[in-house]
């Protein structure tokens, strides 16, 4: 084979590709020569922040990644946790922030497509998708456009594939005005013996490209000063990829069928950096090499260069290594699904990624160097300056409202608290007929057909808290996700995450990142929910200012017996309401301060005592499993009053609450203290429940009774518990429901 006779690189080419002089020198050292243009392009994407995690890796090492249930930790396309009976759940979360800011529909759609592939490439059948979204204020027309486009993109892709979108979160704050966040999570079900990995083992085994043809989509860096990339070709390269969910549905079915057939050695989807990352990662994991003839790669357009073929991010493609001799069986399965499957190369024993075009070698470099020898940076960090001012808050200057009913109604209509029905009504959340608890409750629950088991899912992150204290905020994101699962009767098993931050070259952002990861790690350790994978998205900035640090947590939990599941809605008149946990004056970073007092992200956020959190979660879960709990709802944004209103609305029934005014009234109602769960129990069981909670040593209070058509909250003076209660809220549930249900739809009209 002849090597391509490459012209010498123009000086500075590597800079335009995003590599530093030192990084370029390192490449020269590795190769023992200057790379050619194709090789340089491949190094530049593999060593980009996105693929190499060169900034975040040292910090991510803090995460606990092992545990008794973990079958696959970070490093593969998705993590896997055991759920017993030889079954397991594969799951992963990923961001598609920047594409969604440019083209919300396609950006979000291809985000869903990518995360689905990460899961079915492991051999798992996707059973649910979730999403975590952040936008600017809904007052702005641009936000409405982005929000509407993202939701319909998720719906357009997910619905077509036939995987239900069962939950997620949406949060609005000015900080995301120009840089929305779109994080998608996919969850799949798999039998242990079907687990497949992205490995290219077995020298001589054929390497196949399957699925969509390769086009000039999403090849980044439009300004390369090279002969191969003229201005004209830049024009041909769209910055945005268009998703083809129909193709993906066929690919999903064909891949699962081919994996079942036993022909597959290793399989990986082509995500960021397409053919490049899939091939060198598969070789590197197996300690082998891969040789591919790029002339054989099916393409959408004529005249594509090796550079374009290797860096294209066309969607709906997979790289598969199959057992030698099974090529025809594999092709047959793909043909059945009207898909192309083409042998483009083979596994070699020399550890090289070697690319040819016919007889000519166009690139040749050690696969392991691309994946494992990427530079690692310990970037400087320091506490950012905004903090001291943002944390300053003197409650003396926050007047207590006269009209708590108005406050509650305003909170219920605030987009961050209002019903997200406008969103999930557009998602097919029932296809698959497994959705036992639909979106609208704390966690969503899916049954596992043929068993009594259920899988509970939640995504969470309060980024205001993270902005004010990333360490506490990180802890709270994990704890809240777990609490949501516990409220549905599930034992939390493990998390995935998506860490959305600003520019890590700024020491303040790097500090936020480290603090958040430390907080999350600590919570994961305490709650025994290891990290199985995730994704880092840096450079999320609005007008040069970082978005709120937003480390989104996606958590998976297990319900052993679906008969013992729990939901948040109040059930029957006469049921007794208790609150487990304690309410403190913790108004910093609250929705109440933002909505009622116009103080967005001010003060110190609530503190989280991890031991108390664990105690609360464990005792509530056990009480649910003992059958002592009829409903459970965690108190989050908007505090106790909003939580109770939500229980009333979803149950279609009122409640009467008495509480001792031991702290200032607005805090009692709207403080966002952590580790609190509102539960109900029947009159018959109340004594047993109280005994149980007392024995467990968790703080709790008896709040009142379910019944009537109003939510009525009365406060008693702390000094004389015998005094006359002062009714501060007395609102018809139907009125609250209307405001809450219609708020987002009204804003989107």
């Amino acid at each position: 084979m002849a090597h391509q006779n490459d012209e010498k690189l123009k000086p500075g080419t590597w800079k335009e590709m995003g590599l530093t002089d030192e990084e370029f020198q390192k490449i020269v050292d590795i190769l023992g020569r200057e790379p050619n243009f194709v090789e340089l392009g491949i190094f530049s994407v593999m060593w980009s922040e996105h693929c190499s995690y060169k900034t975040s890796r040292p910090v991510l090492n803090l995460f606990p990644t092992e545990g008794e249930h973990i079958l696959q930790g970070p490093g593969e396309n998705a993590g896997i946790v055991d759920i017993g009976d030889g079954q397991a759940v594969a799951f992963k979360m990923e961001s598609h922030n920047h594409p969604s800011a440019i083209e919300p529909y396609q950006g979000a759609a291809t985000g869903v497509g990518g995360i689905l592939r990460d899961v079915f490439t492991m051999g798992a059948r996707p059973i649910a998708v979730l999403n975590s979204l952040r936008f600017g204020s809904l007052e702005s027309a641009r936000t409405r456009y982005l929000f509407g486009g993202v939701v319909s993109g998720i719906s357009g892709y997910g619905n077509c594939i036939g995987v239900p979108t069962v939950g997620g979160e949406v949060f609005f704050a000015p900080s995301y005005e120009e840089n929305p966040l779109v994080n998608a999570m996919c969850v799949g079900l798999i039998d242990h013996q079907d687990i497949k990995k992205g490995v290219a083992s077995g020298v001589g085994n054929p390497v196949m490209v399957v699925g969509a043809r390769t086009g000039r989509d999403g090849i980044h860096g439009a300004t390369f000063a090279s002969e191969e990339l003229s201005e004209e070709s830049a024009d041909k390269r769209p910055a945005v990829q268009v998703g083809d969910p129909f193709m993906e549905k066929l690919l999903l079915e064909a891949c699962l069928e081919v994996i079942k057939s036993g022909c597959v050695v290793g399989i990986q989807d082509m995500g960021a950096a397409g053919l490049t990352s899939s091939s060198c990662e598969m070789a590197s994991r197996a300690g082998t090499g891969i040789e591919m003839d790029l002339a054989l790669v099916p393409r959408r357009e004529k005249g594509m260069t090796p550079y374009e073929l290797m860096l294209s991010e066309s969607q709906e493609r997979m790289l598969v290594v199959v057992k030698e001799g099974t090529e025809d069986t594999v092709k047959e399965i793909f043909t059945k699904w009207d898909l192309e499957a083409v042998v483009v190369g083979q596994v070699t024993d020399d550890g090289m990624l070697r690319l040819t075009e016919g007889e000519q070698v166009v690139a040749e470099m050690p696969a392991q160097a691309l994946t494992d020898e990427a530079p690692v940076y310990q970037r400087p960090y320091s506490e950012p300056e905004y903090l001291s001012e943002a944390r300053e808050l003197s409650l003396v200057n926050v007047p207590q409202p006269d009209d708590n009913e108005k406050v509650l109604m305003d909170l219920l209509a605030a987009p961050n608290i209002a019903s997200k029905e406008w969103v999930y009504r557009q998602y097919d959340h029932m296809v698959g007929t497994n959705t036992v608890v639909r979106p609208g409750s704390d966690g969503s629950v899916l049954r596992v057909k043929g068993t009594k088991k259920g899988i509970a899912l939640s995504t969470d992150c309060n980024a205001r808290y993270c902005y004010l204290n990333p360490y506490e905020g990180g802890k709270i994101a994990v704890a809240e996700a777990a609490r949501n699962l516990v409220c549905s009767g599930a034992k939390p098993l493990a998390i995935t995450n998506c860490l959305n931050f600003g520019n890590p070259e700024k020491p303040g952002v790097m500090w936020q990142f480290r603090q958040a990861v430390q907080g999350m790690s600590e919570a994961c350790r305490q709650l025994n929910t290891p990290v199985t994978g995730g994704n880092v998205s840096f450079y999320n900035e609005t007008r040069g200012t970082a978005v709120y640090p937003t480390p989104t947590v996606g958590m998976v939990g297990l319900i052993e017996d679906l008969d013992k599941r729990c939901t948040q809605d109040f059930k029957d008149a006469g049921d007794i309401i208790l609150m487990v946990g304690e309410t403190k004056v913790e108004l910093g970073g609250s929705e109440y301060l933002s909505v009622v007092h116009g103080m967005e992200a001010k003060g110190t956020p609530p503190e989280l005592d991890l031991e108390l959190e664990q105690q609360v979660q464990q005792s509530v879960l056990e009480a649910i499993q003992k059958g002592l709990v009829k409903s459970a709802h965690d108190c989050s944004e908007g505090g106790l009053a909003v939580a109770l209103a939500e229980c009333c609305i979803s149950g279609g029934i009122g409640a009467e609450i008495y509480s001792i005014e031991s702290i200032r009234g607005d805090a009692l109602l709207f403080s966002e203290s952590q580790s609190r769960i509102a539960i109900t129990t029947s009159e018959n069981n109340v004594a047993e429940l109280i005994n149980y909670l007392t024995a467990a040593g968790v703080p709790f209070t008896r709040l009142g009774t379910v019944g009537g058509s109003n939510l009525k909250i009365s406060l008693l003076d702390a000094g004389c518990a015998t005094g006359r209660p002062r009714t501060v809220i007395n609102l018809p549930v139907s009125e609250m429901e209307n405001r809450w249900r219609e708020a987002i739809a009204c804003l989107m009209k």
Binding site: G156, G432, L562
Partner: protein, 233 residues
Amino acid sequence: MKFGVVVFPGSNCDADCFHAVQAATNEPVEYIWHKTDNLEGFDCIILPGGFSYGDYLRVGAIARFSPVMDAVINFAKGGGLVLGICNGFQVLLEAGLLPGAMRRNDNLQFICEDTFLKVENNGTPFTALCQENQVLKVPVAHGDGNYYCGEETLKELQQNNQVVFRYSDSTGEVTPKTNPNGSIDSIAGICNKEGNVLGMMPHPERCAEELLGNADGEIMFKSILATWQRRVR
């Protein structure tokens, strides 16, 4: 009795229908690949929901040209029972087995939520076990469920009792507010003149088990079985 569930490329409620039929009737069910042209041995054919061929061009348009559809048309003409759900309904319209056409929902959004259906005709094989004017709670999940037909066709549908379901409230009252998608005359499901072909946008297979919080849809599959048993006897 033997049920068949057709699988087009892009069908995604095929497994759900399979599961629901089995759970509701305990009768044998088989998948039918879209390239098949032989339906021998089947007593009821279900065209399931989903996005056949991505619903590109026009919902149901491309699927209508699958080899299996000629067989389905013959099967229907011979009096065989054919149930089209959601995308299956759209395919039946494109295939001309039922009159009319589908437009985008009038709010232009995909809608996934529970609806109430008033049973307007309990004389069909698919509704035989329903009470007169019974109300069923059945979810919809579609972006193109806005049924349309010309005035004359509508008159015919009404006169021949071919409107089988209308969107209503939980008491059976049909008002503009209970119409989720803009369908003409609040139509949620229609049958052909002979009554052996039914198309409906809502998904009975999604509410055929108590665990899912709603088993109202079961009655349709049981009705099919009961009709078949009566016919055979």
